[in-house]
Structures are given as structure tokens and as C-alpha cells.
Assembly symmetry: C2
Homo-oligomer: 571 residues x 2
Amino acid sequence: MQVWRVNLRERSLKREPAPEAWSRLGGRGLSARILLDEVPATCEPLGPHNKMVLAPGLLVGHMLSSCDRLSFGTKSPMTRGIKEANAGGSTGLHMTNMGMKALIIEDQMPRNGGGGSGWWVLHLSLAGARFEPAEDMAGLAVFEGASRLLKRYGDKVAIALIGPAGEMLLSAAGIQNLDKENVPSRIAARGGLGAVMGSKRLKAIIFDDTGGQKPPIANREAFKQAQKLFTKNTLDHPQTKTYQEYGTPAMVRTCNALGGLPTRNFTSGQFEGAETISGEHMRDLLLRRGGESETTHACMVGCVIQCSNTYGGEDGKAIVSPLEYETIGLLGSNLGIADLDTVARLNWEISDLGLDTIDMGAALGVAAEAGLMQFGDGARALELLGEIRRGTPLGRILGHGAAMAGRVLGVLRVPVVKGQAMSAYEPRAIKGTGTTYVTSPQGADHTAGNTVRAKVDHLDAKANIATSRAAQINMAGFDSLGACIFAGFGFMVNPEVIPDLLNARYGWQVGSDILQVLGKETISLEREFNRRAGFTAADDRIPEYMRTEPLPPHNSVYDASESDLDSIFNW
Amino acid sequence: MQVWRVNLRERSLKREPAPEAWSRLGGRGLSARILLDEVPATCEPLGPHNKMVLAPGLLVGHMLSSCDRLSFGTKSPMTRGIKEANAGGSTGLHMTNMGMKALIIEDQMPRNGGGGSGWWVLHLSLAGARFEPAEDMAGLAVFEGASRLLKRYGDKVAIALIGPAGEMLLSAAGIQNLDKENVPSRIAARGGLGAVMGSKRLKAIIFDDTGGQKPPIANREAFKQAQKLFTKNTLDHPQTKTYQEYGTPAMVRTCNALGGLPTRNFTSGQFEGAETISGEHMRDLLLRRGGESETTHACMVGCVIQCSNTYGGEDGKAIVSPLEYETIGLLGSNLGIADLDTVARLNWEISDLGLDTIDMGAALGVAAEAGLMQFGDGARALELLGEIRRGTPLGRILGHGAAMAGRVLGVLRVPVVKGQAMSAYEPRAIKGTGTTYVTSPQGADHTAGNTVRAKVDHLDAKANIATSRAAQINMAGFDSLGACIFAGFGFMVNPEVIPDLLNARYGWQVGSDILQVLGKETISLEREFNRRAGFTAADDRIPEYMRTEPLPPHNSVYDASESDLDSIFNW
């Protein structure tokens, strides 16, 4: 496995063995190591000194269920700190087939380097790198763009691409990837990775793994055995059935019951329309509608959970795939919209623009508070997304996400930490996840350590400090393995399976604490990057209003002590 | 002299003796002390925990030439750190006549507290505080607003007021004050003080000093003698004549000659149209035009320098007063506009909106780079200011200043430090002032320590570290005295006059190092506030492009070493 290093200004590709210090790492941890070693932490995120790292997790490439995730890393234009967002789909798989431990993209295409639109496609195969002008791709949205690239490069390639949002350098722009049916629906969404790719003038990266092969395995028999146990544990886990049937939208009822479903720009934790946006309602709807609707769907090959879905409209035609809980929470209850068809349409628009649904839902909530739309008015929300598509000033304000929208529009009730929007777990009701939002080096992010499934009193901030810490370490570990959170269900039944898999795959002899080791190392690297970038304890803070404005129905505030927050990573 | 403390939520006024720790301080230093003592440094700048401080300098109130300046202090919504901006005019004088050492405005008027528009006028007199609804003032621009207030409260009052920009919470909004002819032309412009006043729902503060008296003097004879010497030194100083004749626009030729006149969004240090925007050209023009034009004008009573002016149009009617060098640099050469009439009209619009001309000029330069206007197109620049007046999304983007405009519009060539725009001295050509921009706790600000008049090689960054340090200490000292920079000319001829004046005024026994003591203490307090707010050395940095993009005509970059920057205040 090699590190592929592309320099855009030089139009060069170097393939190098990974340095010793990088060899034990993968995914999010490897990305953090590379960024810390190579990117000046105070650099301009959209300037030539920033780099983009693509690093598949350590277990990617072996048809391990839910373990093919790819980490995208960079210095974020949104948080101004380190950023990692990972995605399923086929990109990571192709990279490992090509023998890539990581891809590092350096510098920028000169703005007028190729004449014309100045946009480029980077084509990578075992034969090397090609830098192809992409005149005709300028301004194309994600679905049209992906379809054109699939025609041009054949339907066996993997693609990472940006939409108009990334071209416009909007801070909420992500990087879209193909799922196993070649639908560009797997987005590394958060923190403006798409803007960094746009700043490098790359519209898309093509991965052609022709001639490649599965990554080597040091001890096939041991790997097979561990894999079997992991698959069984995953299939047997009670959560697996829930996620198979309802997918992540199962969380609507759970969070609403906990009083932690963000509603009308985070002014309530319960939504009177929760039932009609619930996973249960969605499942009934999709089963009734049939056609292209699917209540279960795998985003990566080999996944046995298949928590994804295809949301079909009344005519059975697919509106969007997948429709996830976070999106429903932010674009549904958070906007006062109780209708899944509307949420699905908003979701498709946002995905087609190449934006993060979480930050966009939060930004629209802020826009509603600023008087730019009424809560519940889905047609107006669609119009506002149209502003982004047209690149108007208002569209740009919104496309930079909730924090920027709040600043520009003069709204103070803005649910962000480190400039990144909170996900669909109200931190005043689910305080462990709140503490993750506050202390994660990534900014507000439920995937950095969600505590909603923990058996704790979610309203007790103090009791949830340790819960958040444990969840953050585990997730940083999973993100280094390339495992999705639901793989975690299977792993946690028998944690020995993790060292077993790694030792069999790499010929290592890591112990049972490897997940903790990887997790802690990753968080430490990220915090060190942020420290160098100028972050202090003052950045590990909840928005002021969440400490003073009580949230119905519990009328609770976020009340973790600053000393608890500041010592959470003292391990 | 007392501290007046107004709480808006409680609608209360308390008059208290100043605590011992505050008693030696005034102006900027006192403001810093109060903010550090009372405002949580991590608070939301536009939220209820931020406070506004108005503190006249230590020498205000005695008809000392150029020494009636008033410091406005707060946590800045623009830099997110401590902020002080001072202004001439009559407000500081009225405050001292009323016996105010400082006015502290706490908390906020509840948004719907008074029904209607929710805007208020705070009326202060020896009788106490009145909180008056200001329905009819909502949305009024500065000139109309001031005129209405003068009718209502009589033409003997002093007024501090905000325009539409402050109401919209725009980060470049300032606070306007009346000059001695009751023209609202003296703005505490920088860093969004007007937005903080807007967040408190205060449209204006009226100071009625009826029944007041000049502040007491411990030793009248000694004071009179020192004052006489200071006035003579000021009048005799060669710079005084220059500033009397040409005002600050004398600097156009100087800076252009140094290659440090910001031109077309800081891409050149020389402007081919410099001659027609020079102070010399302006003087000829105004003398020829006559009418309301004035080549010399005092903004404060007692000033012997009178560097201000009234810029009259072809018909002799006043377009704006004053037209300053900074404005000409940012709205003239920086926008590629070589015509003073256009610059004057832009200036009037910006003042009427209650905005900072420096940050607005820089924001328009960024807008031009983003393709929203052509350099040189004054009509389009006026249109863009119209967007602010109408409160459109584009107007709001621009009204937040250059840093926000750069972020939203995706421009990387943005001349800011700590989110605040640079003034009309190019840091790559006048590197001492550049070092002040970078290291001042205030963000980029020439008034924090301009080195352009120093006899040094302005292109030698290393040699200018000490120059910047000395200038920053002096200016922080002057800002604590209430002295304008041009008073400094007089003071520096015979620095003993400063302790002499203070000792005579207050019965103190301070030594000849008092200016240094005040200056260092002020900067230390400000840096401590910023440290608590989360600032680190990473915030004391020039924009990346200024270290790599050579600036014509010298083709120099800003190249102060980070270790020099990080140790500049190690005294």
C-alpha cells in the first residue's frame, strides 16, 4: 500500500511508501497525522498551502460489512480547524484496490492555467495520473455531472465530485461519491471539504481500479474467522433489525420522546408533527407506494445492515436516496415541516448542489428566524435553495451554512460550535451528544460521538461527560478503521474481533486496546492541529443562548461545567 | 467624577465613585480595564452579557487643543476581541461637564419591550436617565436622525447615534457623534461598535449637560502653564501647518511616493490617479470652489490644528465633512477611482448609513475582485451602497466589512487582520504600520500605531518592529489621555508636559514615564481580554497572500518573522 501524492501546480504524481509514523494509521487518524505533518495549521484553508487527504480506513476493501468508509481530510474553511468527514460508497474500495493507503492532493491548479473555465478532472489509474480540462463540467450539478462522467469514463470507475456549491467555495459544500449503484449519494458532507476541492479547481477525481486487486491479507484464515464472527454479531444485534427496517429515521420517535428533536430553529425539543416524519410512517409510506421505493438498501458492497433507503414519491418514482434521520430532523422538524415528501425534495436539491443537509437545514432555520421564510413553508425553503443554485448573494450566505447565515443576517440563535451546525440531537436534552458537539475537534458533529443510545440520564450533563468521552474515542477509532457507526454494534459485542481483524490483515500484534489507542491518538493529533491553528478552550463552548434559554419540554439548559469540558481529554 | 451605570433591562441608572483600580485610568485604558473586569471575554458580542463603555480621556474637558476625544469600548462583533474606537466631537466634553468618568451600558432592551419598533433613546442629564421609546426613529439614517433629535432635545445637547447599519447589526457599523457645529460627522467607526449599540436597541444617547460644569483642576496655575507650553509646541510644529493646510489628505502623495497607497484591492502600492485625489489637489479645488468648502476646520472646540475640512461640490455646496486620507485611500485608489467628487459622495453615503469608511472601502475592493463592480466605476460603487441602505442580502454582506465579504464571496485577497480591514497604508511597503496591523489587540488599525512618519527604511520589517512597538505604546497612551494623534506632535516636543498636565489636573505625582505606563498597561489589559476570548499568536498574523504576492512598485512582501511578532510586547 502506497501513498499517492498529486501536485496540481506541477501536474505530477508520486507514489511513495508510507513513512513509518503513518503505517499503523488509517482513515481519520491517518488523515490527521498527514495534515499535522504537512499542512501549516494557520494557512488559508482555500489557499495553495492547504492539502486534501483521502484515506480509506484500515479495514476497507475486504467486503467486511459496513467497513468500506473513506475519510476525507483537510483544514476546514468552515471551522478553520482540522476537518475529517467520511462517506460510504465505492471510492474507498477502488482506492484500496489500486493499492492506495492515502491520496494527498497538494497546491492548486492555477486559476487560468488551462484557459476556459479552468476546471479540471483528475483521473487516477494504475497507469498514473491524467489532468484533464473539464470545460463542459463547469457549473454542473451533482447528478448531471456524475452521469456525464460515468459516460465518459465508463461505469466501472469510482468518482468523487463537487457540485456548484464547491465551485462557489461555499463553506457547507461537500464531496459526493457514488454508491454501489453509481448514484452520487454518498457525501463527505461536513465542514466544507467541497470548497477546498473547488479551491483546487478540481471538479472531480476519477478512480479507475482496472488491473487492481484486493489488498493483501497476512493471515487469510484468521481474517476469515474474525470476519465470520463479526458478521454474525452484527446480524444478531437487536439494533440491526431496527436499522434494516426503519434506517436512521427510527431516531425521530426516539429523539422526540427524549425532548431532543430540534424544532423550529432549536426552540423546542418536541415537534407536534413528529409522527408524520417518523421512520415508522416512512416505512408504511414506502411499502404502500412501491415502485422505486426501498425501505432497505446497502450503500457499500457487503453491508449486512443495509440501513439506507430510496424515498419514492406518490408515483413510486425515487425522489431521493437515502433520506436519513439527520436530514429529517434539520429539514423537517427544525423547519416546522411535517411532510416527508417536502423534506425529500429539499434533500434532493441540497444533494444535487453538493451541500451538507445538516448545515443547510440549520441555515434555513436561521433564515426563518431572520424572517426570510415562515416555519413550515416548504415551497419557500425550496425557493431559498434556488438562490444557492443561481449563486445569488442570499444563496451564498445560506450556502456557507448556519454560522455564516447567523452572522450576516444578525441572528443570535444559531446552533453551531466552531462554526459548524449541530445535528438533530438537541444538546440541552441529550447532553452527552451536546458535550461531543462542544469538545470535538471537528466542531458540532453527532458522528464524532453520539450518546443518544447510552443508558444514562440524558439531562444530566455531569454524568454524560464520561459517556461523551468514551463515545468520542470509540468513534475516532471506528473512523480510523473505516467502520460505520453501525458496524460498531457488531464490534462492541465482542471487541476482540477488532485486533483479530487488524492482526490478520496486517500481520500486526495489536492488543485489545487498539480501538482506544487509535481513537485517543486521532483526537490528540486533531487537537494538536487545532492548537497550532489558534484554538483554545474558548472554542470548546456551546452557543451562549443554550446556557440561558430553557428548551421545552424539559425546560432544560446545557449546563456542563467549563472545567469538565476543559478536562474531558485529560487521559 | 463618577461612573454612570445604566442597565437597559432594568431601566436603571446608578452613579458610583470609580473603584480605586480605575481611578488613574481614562479613555481607552479605562475602557479596557472595565471590559476586562466586567465582560466575560467569551460572551456573544451582540448578546446581553456584552457591555458598552464610553470613557472620555484623562485630559478631556479643558479646551486643551485636540484632547477632547472619547473612547467607545466593547467586545467587537467584527474581531470577536476587545474593541476601542475613539472620536472627536462634543460627546466627550458633555460627559465630563456632567461629571462622568465613564458611562457603562449593560444588558439589552428586551426586543419587544416597548412595543412598536422597539427602538429607544437614552437621555442622560444631571437629573438622571430617561428611557424614551423612539418609534419614529427606526430606520432613520444618520443625518436625518441627528436633525430630528436636535429638534426634539434642543441644539445644546451632545448625541451619540447609530444609523441603519447599526440597526441591522452590521459589523462595520459605527457610532456617530456631533461635531462642534452639530453635524453628525465624528464617528467611532471601527469594529462594529454601532452593531453592539443596535443589539441593545439604542438608537441614540443624548447627553444634556445643563447645570454641569468643567471638571475640577487641582492646580489651576500649573495647568495653565503646561497648557500654554503645549499649545505653543503644537502651533510651532512643522506638521501642524501641513495638516492645517491639507489635512490628512496630505498623506496621499507621501504614501504614493513610498509605494504604500492601497490601489485596486491592495494589488499595487502606487496609483496612476494619485495626483487628482491628493491633498494638494483637494486644497486647490476647495479654494477655487469656495461656498461651503473649507480647507481647514476644527472638529473639537479649542483645537489649534483644525485638520478637518468641508468638501464642497462644483456648486460650492458641502458634499461631506470631513474627507480624510483613509477614506480617500480606501474609496479612491483602492477602488481605482481618481475623482474626489465621487469619493466624497461615497463617503457621505457611508457616513449617513453609520458605517466605517475604511472597512467599507476594503469591502468594495473585495466586491470588485469578486466581479460585482469594475474598478473605477463610482456609479456602481454607489449602487452597492444602496444595497446596504435597502438591507438586501448583498448589502448585508458588504456592510459586515471586508473580512465577511471575502468569506461569503469566496475572495482570498482580503486585507484584514483579526477580521478588521487595513487602513490606507500598505503593510508590504510601510512595514512598521503592517506590524501594528498584525499585532495590535484591536485588529488592523493605523491609529493603533502608525509608523509612516518615522525616519526608518519602511521596507525593512525587522528594523520596524521597535518602531511599531513604540508607536503602539504611545498611541495607547494618547488614547487614554483623549489626545488625537496630532496632539502627539505637540506633546513629543516636550513630553514633560504630559505629567505636568495630569499632575495639575488630578493632584497626582506621576513621572515622565506616564505615557509609557498608560500605553503599556492599556495594551496589556487588551491582550489579556483577547487571551481570555481565545486569541493566540495565530491571530497575530498577516493574510497569507501578503507574504507571497509581491507588491508593485517595490515588489516587496510582508516579511516580519513570527518570532519578532510574537515577542513584540515582551517588555
